[in-house]
Amino acid sequence: MSIPAASPALLVPSPEASETKRRLPLVAQYLRSQQDLTAVERFARRHSAEELPNHQHYKELIPLTRPRTGEQYAFQVDLDACTGCKACVSACHHLNGLDEAEAETWRSVGLLHGGTPAVPVQQTVTTACHHCLDPACMKGCPVNAYEKSAETGIVRHLDDQCIGCQYCTLTCPYEVPQYSKSRGIVRKCDMCGDRLANGEAPACVQACPNEAISIRIVDVARALEEAQVDAFLPGAPSPGITVPTTSYVTERVFPRNMLPADFYTVRQGHQHFPLVIMLVLTQLSVGAFVVDFALERLSSGAWVTESRPYHALVGLAMGLLALGASTLHLGRPHLAFRAVVGLRTSWLSREILAFGAFAGSAVLYTLLCWYTSVDRQIGLPGVDAAVRGKLVNALGWAVATSGLGGILCSVMLYAVTGRRWWSAGRTMVRFGLTALVLGLATTLVTSCVVAVALNRFEEFSWAGVKLCWALAAATVTKLLVDGSVMANLYDKQLTELKRTAMLVRGELKKVAALRVGVALVAGVLLPLVLAEQLRGTSAVGSVVTVVVLSASFLGLLLGEMIERALFFKASSAPKMPGAF
C-alpha cells in the first residue's frame, strides 16, 4: 500500500531549528523517567519473601493422602465445569517456566460437539499427560528416559537422559511429549509432582477458575477395568493402548454424534527426513546382501563369486550411510550409545543393536571377501582357504540374519504405535519389498558393472534376464500393496486409513503420482525392456545395459524415498479431541 506523504506544503521541521532544539531537555527528561521502574520503591510491600502460600482455595482439589499400594495419582476433569477459558494452558506454561520462543505447552483444550439443531451440544475438554498405567512413551524410549513412579504413578521424563530420538512422540497416542528443537530433547507434564509432594496443587489445578481440574487417587485395577471399554472420551484414542488414568466426569449424556471439532481435519504427519534416508538405505543394504547371498546359492557363474567383493562393498557403503543418516534424526546424537539401556522394552534400541551387528558383520564379511579375492590373484599368507570359505559363509549368514532382524525391528518400531497405516503386516510387506526391490536393483547394476569390467557380459546376460523379471514383479507387487490403501476411501467411517487415503488423493497427490510414475518407469518398464533385449541376442551393448540399469537403480531409489516420505506424511496420528 502506498500512502503519499502528508500534504507537501507542510514541511518537516529541521532538527537544527532552534524551536526544535529547545524541546530536547524535556524529551530527555521524559525518556529518562520512562526507564525508571518505580513499583518496588513507590508502593508498600504487601508480601514478604518468607510468606508461605495459602493452600485453602484448592485443598479439596488435591488428595489429603499419598497413594497406597495398587493406587496412583490421576487427573480428574469435571467436564460440566470446563467452559473453555484455557487458563490451565497458560498457567502451566508460566508456573512451570516452559519455553516461550517455542510456545511450549503441556496442556491443551479441545472441543467436542454434536447434537441436533434443536438440542445442540458443545463441550470443551482440557487435556494433558494421562500418566498411563502402561505408558507408550516409556516403552518406546531407547534410553529409559521415562520413569513411572512406583509410589505416585507419575510418568516423569528425565530431560538429561533424553537423546532426542522423538520416538515417544510417535508412540504416545495423546501428543503429550513435546520436542524442543533448541534443546534437542522432548519435555512433558510431570503432574507438578514436587508441588504435590509439598501439599501444593499442580499449576493447572491451581489456575482453573471453575475448579474443573483436580488430582484424585485412582485404583489401578479399576483403571484397567475401565480401559476395557472405549468410553474414555468421545473421539479420543482407545484407552486400551496405554490405559490412561485421567477420568473425564460429567452428569450430561452426550449425544451419539459427539465428535472432536478437528475430527474432519486431515493433517499430514511430520516428515522425519533423516528417518526416510535411514530406512530406505538400511533396507537397500540388507536387500543387496541378501539378494547377493541368495544369488550365489542359485547361480553357478564364476562372475558371481568374483563380483562378490564389489557387492559387499556397495552394500556396506549404503548401510553405513544409512546409519550415519539415522543419527541426524537425534537431537543429541553424541549420546546415541545410551540406547543400549533400552533393549528390554524399546524396539528402537533393538533396531540399533541389530543394525549395529549387521554393520559389524558386514564390515568383516566385506574385508574377508576382499582378502579372498586378492589372495586368489596374488596369493596372501594366512588362513587356510577351506576354513576361510566356512568363515565367509558363516559371516554371510550373520549379515543376512542381523540385517533381516534389523528390518524386523524397524517394522515393529512403527507397528507398536498402533497406527493402522503402520500396522505390522502392512509395514513388513512394505519394508521387505523395499529391501527386495532395491536389493535386486543394486545387485543388477553392480553385477553388470563387474561383468563388463571382467569381460564376462555374456555370463551376466543369463542371470540378468531373471533378475530383471524378478525386479519388475517385485516393483508391481509393491505398488499394488502401497496402493491398496486407496480402497479405504470407500470406508463409511472416517477411519485412520481413510484419512491416509484422503491425504494421498488430496494434498499429497502430486508426490504420490511422482512415486508411482518413477517406480513404473524405473522398476517395470526399464527392466522389462532390458530383459527382452538381453534374452534376444547381444544386440544390446554392455555400456547401454550399464546405463539403463543405473538409471533403473537411481529411479527406484528415488521412488522408495518418496514412498517412505509418504509413509510418514500420510500417517494419521491418533490424538485427543482438538479445537477447530
Partner: protein, 743 residues
C-alpha cells in the same frame, strides 16, 4: 532432594549411561517462590512482587507481578484481589508477552517523500505534529482536526488527552473506541438512572438465585466473571438469551435460542407476562420508579402468542422464564455486546433495566440490571475522557458544570465548548465530507475495527494528516499513518483503570519501554509543550497528580472519588469502587453496589422506564443473501483486533490462525459444504475466504464469524443505534459460496 552423593568409576559409568539430573533437568526445577506464591520456576524466582490491574478487559483482575531488580519476570493472578481471587484468563497470564514483541515502536516515524515511514527524533516528531495540525486548523478551522481515543489507556491519560485537545488545542470533536462497545449502556443508564452508573458489584454473581445473561458469553469473553458465577452457592437458575449455543448457553439451566434481534419483543413479552402474573414489586415501583402506567400500556400488545411468533420460542419456554424471574428472590440481569451492538441497543438495555425495576431487583444483593463492560478502562473513558461528557461525568451543555471545571482546572471558561462534539461515526462522516482533515488516533485500530471496512479504508485515506500513537508499528491503522508516535504500554507506566463494577485499580511500571517509546501521558505533555499550552497543564505533573485533579473533578458527582486519598489507598484497599466521598473509607477488598436506598440520580430520585416499539433490522435476509451474520468473540485468548494477543506465541496456539465461519450442518448439507472446506462469505459490502466450521452451535439460517480477523468488518453494515450511535456489528445479511478445493 538430598540423595547421598556417590562417586567412583561405577557411579560415573552409571551417570553416563543413565543421567537423571543435569543442566536440562535444572531448567525446569521449581522452587518455593516466597511472597505467598507457592513453587515457581527456579530461574524465574522473584525478589519482590507487586499487584497491578490487568490491561485487557474490563473485568479488572489483579495480577501479582513477579519482579527481579524491579523488572517483571513473570506473573500470576493475585490471590488477595477481590475481583479475580487468584484466577486469570490466558490473556492475563500472557500480559507480559505482548510487551516483548518485535514490532514495538521504538522511535517516532514520519512518512517521507517516498511514501515510507522513516525514523525521526522526538523533537522533529513533536514539531511536525504541531505545525501540521496548526496549519490545518488555520486553513480549515479548529474543528477540522479531531481525535479518536481508546478504552485501553489509564484514566489519567484519557483526562489529560481530553483536556489537552479540547481546552489546549481547540479541538471540538473527539471520541473513543468505547463508542463501539459501551455507548449503548452509557445512554441507557443515563436516561434510566440519571447517571451512567452500572449498579453492581461482582459479588452479585455469587448472591443471585436467578441470573439472566443476554447477548453475553462470559465463559469465553469474561472467564473470571464466570468464575464468580461458579462460586454461587445458591444453585441458581441461569438463563441465557443468545441465538447461538455458546459455552455459557451450555452451562445454563435455560437457553433461549431466539431469532436474532427479536430480543426487544421478548423482553416486552416477558414484562407483560410478569405484570399479568403479579410478579411485581409494587412498593418499589411506587417509591422509586416513574412511568410504570405507560410502560404497562406499551407492553400490553406483547402477548405470549405474539412474543412466541416474533422470537421463534415456544410459549412454555417463555412462560418458564417469566415464572423463574417472577419467583426469584434475587434476580440479576447481565448484558454485553449482543445488546450494546444493536440497531436498537439503548431500548434493549432499557428493556432489561425495566425488568429489574418493576420486579424490584435492584439495589439488593444478587440483583441489578448490569452491563458488563468490554475494555479495561471503558469505564474510565465514560467518566473522564472529555469526549461525550465533560470531565468527571459532567455535561458540556450545563453552564454550572463548565464553570466548575474551568475553576478546578484554572482555565478560561470560554475554552470549554458548549455543545457536545461529534460521535465516532459522525467524525468518520465528516472526514468523508472533507470537513475533518487531520485525525489523531490513540491506542485504537479503526482500520480493522470500524464497521464496514471498505468505507472505513476509503475514509482514512482521505485524511491530510493521520497521526497514530500506539505500542506497535504494525497495526492496520499505524501502517497508514503519516506520523507514528511510539507509546509505552500496560506495565510500562502508572495510572488507574476503572472496571465494570466501578472499581478503580492501579497499574504499575514494572517493565522498561523499548527504545524511545514513551507513556502516552508523557507524549501528551510533550505535545502540550510543543503546542505552546504547556503551562495550562503544569499541574498535571505526573499520573498521580492527574489523579488528584480527577478527584476534584468528581466532587459532588455520583462518581465522587474525593474519598480516595491517593494511589497508596488504591493499592492497599485492593482497588476502590466509586463513589467514595471525602472522609469516607472502605475496608480492604470491599464490594459495594449502588441504589441500596432506592434513590436514583434523576432530580426526582426515581428511575425511568423507557421503551419504544421494536424496529425492523436494517438489512433483513433475502433470496440473494439468505444468512444472518452473527459476530463476536472467538476465544478467550483473542482480544479485539489482536494487536496484542497476536504477539503471544502461547495465545496464538489457542485460536485458529485462519478466519473461519460457523455454519449449521443443515445449511452445510444444502450447500454441499464439507467440514473445513474454504468458502466465500459475502455481504453487499465485501467478501472474504473463510474455513467452514460445521456445527449445531449456530442455528440454520445463521452463520457466525469471530471479530478478531481483519476481514470480518468487510461484511458488516454501518447501521447505528439512534441514541448511542453505537454500530450494530451483530446483524447483517450474507451468503456463502463454495470454493473449489484445488481450484
Amino acid at each position: 532432594m538430598n540423595r547421598p552423593v556417590k562417586t567412583g568409576p561405577a557411579e560415573l559409568a552409571r551417570q553416563i549411561l543413565h543421567q537423571s539430573d543435569g543442566p536440562l533437568t535444572r531448567q525446569l526445577v521449581r522452587t518455593p517462590g516466597g511472597f505467598g506464591l507457592g513453587q515457581v520456576p527456579e530461574r524465574l524466582a522473584p525478589d519482590a512482587t507487586t499487584t497491578a490491574v490487568c490491561g485487557f478487559c474490563s473485568t479488572g483482575c489483579g495480577l501479582e507481578v513477579h519482579l527481579k531488580g524491579g523488572a517483571a519476570i513473570n506473573l500470576s493472578p493475585a490471590r488477595d484481589y477481590p475481583v479475580n481471587i487468584g484466577m486469570a484468563c490466558p490473556k492475563g497470564w500472557e500480559a507480559l508477552a505482548p510487551l516483548r514483541a518485535k514490532d514495538r515502536g521504538t522511535v517516532p516515524l514520519l512518512r517521507n517523500a517516498h511514501g515510507e515511514l522513516a525514523p525521526v527524533s522526538w523533537p522533529v516528531a513533536l514539531d511536525t505534529f504541531t505545525q501540521r495540525m496548526k496549519a490545518i486548523q488555520k486553513k480549515h478551522g479548529p474543528a477540522s482536526v479531531a481525535f479518536l481515543s481508546t478504552g485501553q489507556i489509564p484514566t489519567e491519560e484519557m483526562a489529560l488527552l481530553g483536556a489537552l485537545t479540547k481546552f489546549g488545542m481547540g479541538m471540538v470533536h473527539g471520541d473513543g473506541n468505547t463508542r463501539q462497545c459501551m455507548a449503548t449502556a452509557v445512554v441507557a443508564y443515563k436516561q434510566a438512572f440519571g447517571f451512567d452508573a452500572p449498579p453492581y458489584s461482582y459479588r452479585d454473581f455469587e448472591e443471585s438465585d436467578v441470573l439472566v445473561f443476554v447477548g453475553a458469553n462470559p465463559c469465553i469473553a469474561h472467564p473470571i466473571l464466570w468464575e464468580r458465577v461458579c462460586k454461587n452457592s445458591h444453585s441458581p437458575e441461569i438463563i441465557v438469551v443468545d441465538p447461538r449455543r455458546t459455552e455459557t448457553a451450555m452451562a445454563a439451566t435455560q437457553h433461549l435460542a431466539l431469532a436474532p434481534k427479536s430480543d426487544l419483543a421478548l423482553f416486552y413479552g416477558i414484562a407483560k407476562c410478569l405484570i399479568e402474573r403479579g410478579y411485581l414489586d409494587q412498593e418499589f415501583i411506587a417509591r422509586s420508579v416513574s412511568g410504570f402506567e405507560a410502560f404497562a400500556a406499551h407492553v400490553a400488545d406483547y402477548d405470549l402468542a405474539a412474543t412466541s411468533e416474533a422470537t421463534g420460542l415456544a410459549p412454555d419456554v417463555i412462560e418458564r422464564v417469566v415464572d423463574t424471574i417472577g419467583r426469584g428472590k434475587r434476580v440479576s440481569f447481565w448484558w454485553t455486546m449482543g445488546v450494546n451492538q444493536s440497531h436498537e441497543g439503548v431500548r434493549l438495555a432499557q428493556a432489561l433495566i425495566n425488568l429489574a425495576l418493576i420486579t424490584g431487583n435492584i439495589g439488593r444483593p444478587g440483583t441489578g440490571a448490569n452491563s458488563i463492560t468490554g475494555q479495561c478502562n471503558a469505564m474510565g473513558s465514560r467518566l473522564f475522557s472529555n469526549t461525550t461528557n465533560l470531565l468527571g461525568g459532567h455535561d458540556f451543555g450545563n453552564p454550572d458544570h463548565r464553570a466548575k471545571i474551568a475553576n478546578i482546572l484554572q482555565i478560561d471558561e470560554s475554552l470549554i465548548q458548549q455543545e457536545d462534539g461529534l460521535d465516532y461515526d459522525q467524525i468518520m462522516e465528516r472526514i468523508m465530507a472533507g470537513k475533518i482533515k487531520a485525525l489523531w488516533v490513540v491506542a485504537t485500530n479503526p482500520a480493522h475495527s470500524w464497521i464496514n471496512q471498505a468505507d472505513a479504508q476509503d475514509i482514512l485515506s482521505r485524511l491530510e494528516f493521520l497521526v497514530v500513537q500506539d505500542m506497535y508499528t504494525s497495526t492496520e491503522t499505524a501502517t497508514r499513518a503519516h506520523l507514528y508516535l511510539p507509546a509505552a504500554g500496560w506495565g510500562e507506566k502508572e495510572g488507574t483503570f476503572i472496571n465494570s463494577e466501578r472499581r478503580i485499580s492501579l497499574l504499575k511500571k514494572v517493565a522498561r519501554a523499548p527504545g524511545e517509546a514513551l507513556a502516552d501521558f508523557y507524549i501528551f505533555k510533550l505535545i502540550a509543550d510543543a503546542w505552546g499550552c504547556g503551562d495550562m497543564f503544569r499541574g498535571w505533573s505526573s499520573p498521580e497528580a492527574a489523579f488528584e485533579i480527577m478527584r476534584e473533578l468528581s466532587r459532588g458527582q455520583p462518581c465522587d472519588i474525593t474519598g480516595i486519598t491517593g494511589y497508596d489507598m488504591l493499592d492497599d484497599r485492593r482497588g476502590v469502587q466509586w463513589p467514595l466521598k471525602e472522609g469516607e473509607d472502605v475496608e480492604v477488598k470491599s464490594e459495594r453496589r449502588l441504589f441500596e436506598d432506592g434513590h436514583f440520580f434523576h432530580s426526582d430520585g426515581r428511575a425511568r422506564l423507557l421503551f419504544e416499539a421494536p424496529r425492523a433490522v436494517p438489512e433483513p435476509t433475502d433470496e440473494k443473501y439468505p444468512f444472518v451474520l452473527l459476530s463476536g468473540r472467538g476465544s478467550s485468548s483473542q482480544w479485539h483486533t489482536q494487536t496484542r494477543t497476536g504477539k503471544s506465541a502461547v495465545l496464538r496456539k489457542l485460536y485458529p490462525s485462519e478466519p473461519y465461519v460457523e455454519v449449521s450442518p443443515v445449511d452445510a448439507s444444502k450447500l454441499e459444504l464439507q467440514p473445513n472446506e474454504w468458502v466465500t462469505v459475502e455481504s453487499r459490502r465485501g467478501k472474504y475466504r473463510a474455513r467452514v466450521h460445521v456445527t449445531h452451535v449456530v442455528r440454520p439460517g445463521q452463520v457466525f464469524v469471530p471479530m478478531h480477523y481483519p476481514t470480518a468488518n468487510l461484511l458488516t453494515l454501518a447501521a447505528f443505534d439512534p441514541y448511542s450511535r453505537q454500530p450494530s456489528y451483530k446483524h447483517c445479511a450474507v451468503r456463502l459460496e463454495k470454493i473449489d478445493a484445488f481450484g
